[in-house]
Symmetry: C2
Subunit: 196 residues, 2 copies
Amino acid sequence: MSQPLDAAALATLFTDARTHGGWTSEPVSDDQIRQLYDLVKMGPTSVNCSPARFVFVRTPEGKQRLAPALSSGNLDKTMAAPVTVIAAWDTAFHEQLPFLFPHADAKPWVAATPEAAHKTATYNSTLQAGYLILAARALGLDAGPMAGFDAAKVDAAFFAGTTWKSGLLINLGHGDASKLHGRLPRLDFDAAARLA
Amino acid sequence: MSQPLDAAALATLFTDARTHGGWTSEPVSDDQIRQLYDLVKMGPTSVNCSPARFVFVRTPEGKQRLAPALSSGNLDKTMAAPVTVIAAWDTAFHEQLPFLFPHADAKPWVAATPEAAHKTATYNSTLQAGYLILAARALGLDAGPMAGFDAAKVDAAFFAGTTWKSGLLINLGHGDASKLHGRLPRLDFDAAARLA
């Protein structure tokens, strides 16, 4: 039996959390990055296939490699963020299945064809990117996910000669609340959900 | 400044949480479902586009409509679960952008072409499915996500004549820990991540 989280924890994860574009000077340590990964890796994926791969870019050299791939609106905040995560997936994820799911040959279930493998890898690695955003918040960090980048340029700069492909960029750090705008509206239950 | 979650909360979300296939008789109320949606809706999406749609199937009639779409391994546990969520997306999500992102015309950024709209809708609704899994855990529920189903059959049974498409099924309830198998391994940091 697990206990529900209290209101303060729900606020940290969901109701008070914001997507930040401005950052304080407080750093993110490599220990925090490893602690973050150790939470994310526990999140569920189809037959435990765990296709997500992550590059934690936190050096000036790494940021400069990333810069040409960013949309103009995402450039300054990404250069200023303590860490930018490249949330990626491994197109060869199925090679890890004998380790990750040892009880049966799971490849026919999730990677029977190249199309099925692609769907499994992209779908599950995207769930894992969502886990990373919330795991960062759970650790007291702020996250700034960004779809506005050129994935082919990121792949060329970071993944040439590998089987990894980029999916999302996520800035991590301690957000500067003074740079936030007002919160945007959300869809009511009746506009986005149904009971059946 | 948000406080990090304590170890018990991290265990509830990540390190002790399990994907359950067996369920106790404890129900999930419609109030809990609405509370769950009210957390999920706050999670970040590209330009706040919020493309996910959710059907919360909790009646015997609803379960029977779902049954023909399930893989044999997912049938019994889904029929037994208090709630099965159809995590879907709206192919016409961009019609809500003037409400969700009122400051600018965001359609050219996320739905300039049918291909771009599809990518935005599937990517962001999948992030939101990940938020739902963790939000359910945050509320003290257990989640059992399942990719093993026939999406075309779910769409025909639930979404005919609409613009919604199914992406993932997620059983919700209180897991029966006596039905769990041992925990599967995860990839170490060095197998799935890099510092740059």
